[in-house]
């Protein structure tokens, strides 16, 4: 059974068809890349998967279960985690609090009132911070972090919940080459425990880490395959050539 199956999903915003009968799938431990020109519908497709918008048509299956119309919180509880295109972390909270916000999200109100899981999460916060090079900033406000660190914090928050499916919308935007390389390592490591769907503009980055790539153009998936296959594909060449 596939981890995620997006079957012929269409998303319309009024007269605009942002995603048009797109199908993709992700297997366990697989990293799938989604590329395409600006406005081709990448984020929108990701949003139909995480529940930020509901697909107009088509079906989305998570581990075989139909989640097309589920609420975001139910999808999160089912094991989905997302990093948005524009980092959405809690700027007025410290790095530690941000991580805790993600870690405790599924705890019951009753156990939160009794601070039941605080000790348990302390270790996880330490190891996450270590992994994402945030240890020395744990008690700093998230707003004082650099752009790249904020992106990392949001990825760390997404990973904190030990998701089965990790959705990353442009994780390396605004990062230095060194930060990019580190991010690639982190994502590869993450994929040992879950499936990953990445939207990226940086083709080199995508080629390096993805097992499979899908190319989106005006809402249509025009090609899917390994990076070598994608590079040879005439339709992809056309899109990327006409664009520049």
């Amino acid at each position: 059974m596939k981890l995620l199956e997006v079957i012929s999903v269409t998303k319309k915003f009024g007269a605009l068809t942002a995603v048009d009968k797109a199908s993709i799938f992700i297997n366990q431990n697989e990293i799938v890349g989604l590329i395409g020109p600006n406005g081709s519908g990448k984020s929108t497709l990701l949003h139909t998967v995480c529940g930020r918008t509901i697909a107009t048509e088509g079906q989305i299956l998570l581990q075989g279960l139909d989640i097309t119309k589920q609420d975001p919180q139910d999808r999160a509880i089912a094991g989905m985690a997302i990093k948005f295109q524009l980092a959405r972390i809690y700027l007025e909270k410290t790095v530690r609090e941000n991580l805790l916000i993600s870690l405790q999200a599924k705890e019951s109100i009753w156990s939160q009132l009794r601070n039941r899981s605080l000790a348990k999460f302390e270790d996880k916060i330490t190891s996450l911070a270590d992994e994402f090079q945030l240890t020395e900033y744990l008690d700093e406000f998230a707003k004082s972090l650099s752009h790249g660190q904020q992106q990392w914090l949001e990825i760390a928050m997404a990973m904190a919940s030990e998701p089965i499916l990790l959705l990353l919308d442009e994780p390396t935007a605004g990062m230095s080459p060194k930060e990019r390389a580190d991010t690639a390592i982190l994502i590869k490591k993450a994929s040992k425990k879950c499936g990953v769907l990445i939207v990226e503009h940086d083709l080199d980055f995508i080629k390096e880490i993805c097992d499979r790539i899908s190319v989106l153009h005006q809402g249509n998936i025009i090609a899917t395959g390994t990076s070598a296959e994608i590079e040879k594909d005439p339709k992809v060449k056309e899109v990327y050539l006409t664009r520049v």
Binding site: A76, Y90, K93, I109, L113, S117
Partner: protein, 279 residues
């Protein structure tokens, strides 16, 4: 006041309905003491808690159980509830119409009557301190962080798996209970209830305390309360008709220029000075 701070300051639920719930607690006590011989403060408070919780639950479910609703929607609905309650208190004979319910007997505790002003003050202060203590505990618990997460970015919180609507309803019910307890205490200490203790004027004033004192803290609003109450009494003598308008203006000005309250003023000034010096 604590009720609004919990709701709005901590969980981002901007409510103008607390006066109605305050009134509800007050009138509940008024009606019970009129129609029965119950005067035990423990029993009265318990009933006020239950009634406040039920009312809070009904309004909370109505407001928060479906999709995410805008802040404006919550403001309008709670404003409307305050308004309706005020009208009801003014016209319904069971609630004493315009006269309210006078002559509420002094409360008793273990059969002893609390009559003296000092006794009543100690009672009110004890309950208040207890509630303040609970509030501080809540805010510093993990649930406090949850409330803030929902306040700062409702949608984001949902993507982490927070049950947003359940959290908002719980907070709203808690705040409703606080307001209802407040109303009950008002009734027994002042020994009367009337429509002036409910309705829009009070709601606006409470929001003002929280705005001026700074949402997100408990002590800021308390200071604002003390100062404003002192000014209030004076001003109502000097400028009886102009004062309510001034209060409204003050509210608007404070919300625009001091979103974090007076307590944040020193920090804000420091911040802008620092920006200037580094620029």
């Amino acid at each position: 006041m604590l009720s609004v701070e919990m709701c709005w300051g901590q969980a981002g639920i901007f409510t103008f309905g607390q006066a109605a719930l305050f009134g509800l607690g007050g009138y509940t006590v008024g009606l019970i003491t009129k129609n029965s011989s119950i005067t035990d403060i423990g029993v009265l408070l318990l009933i006020a808690i239950v009634i406040g919780a039920v009312a809070g639950l009904i309004i909370g479910i109505f407001l928060f159980s479906g999709k995410r609703v805008g802040e404006l929607y919550v403001v309008l609905v709670t404003l409307a509830i305050s308004y309706i309650f005020e009208r009801l208190a003014n016209s319904w004979t069971v609630l004493g119409s315009g006269n309210g319910i006078p002559g509420i007997p002094s409360p008793t505790i273990f059969g002893m009557e609390i009559k003296s002003i000092i006794g009543l003050f100690i009672l009110a202060f004890t309950v208040f301190a207890l509630i303040l203590f609970i509030c501080i505990f809540l805010v510093n618990s993990q649930f406090g962080l949850t409330m803030n997460a929902v306040r700062d970015d409702e949608e984001r919180a949902e993507f982490f798996g927070y049950k947003r609507s359940r959290i908002q309803i719980v907070v709203f019910v808690f705040a409703a209970v606080l307001a209802s307890i407040g109303g009950a205490l008002f009734a027994v200490t002042e020994s009367f209830v009337s429509s002036s203790m409910t309705g829009l004027a009070l709601s606006t004033t409470i929001v003002l305390w929280v705005v001026l004192g700074g949402r997100g803290t408990f002590f800021g609003p308390l200071i604002a309360l003390a100062v404003l109450q002192a000014v209030n009494t004076k001003m109502q003598e000097v400028l009886p008709s102009l004062w309510p308008i001034l209060v409204g203006l003050l509210l608007v000005i404070a919300m625009i220029f001091l979103p974090k309250g007076l307590m944040s003023l020193p920090a804000t000034i420091r911040e802008s000075l620092r920006k200037k010096s580094t620029a």
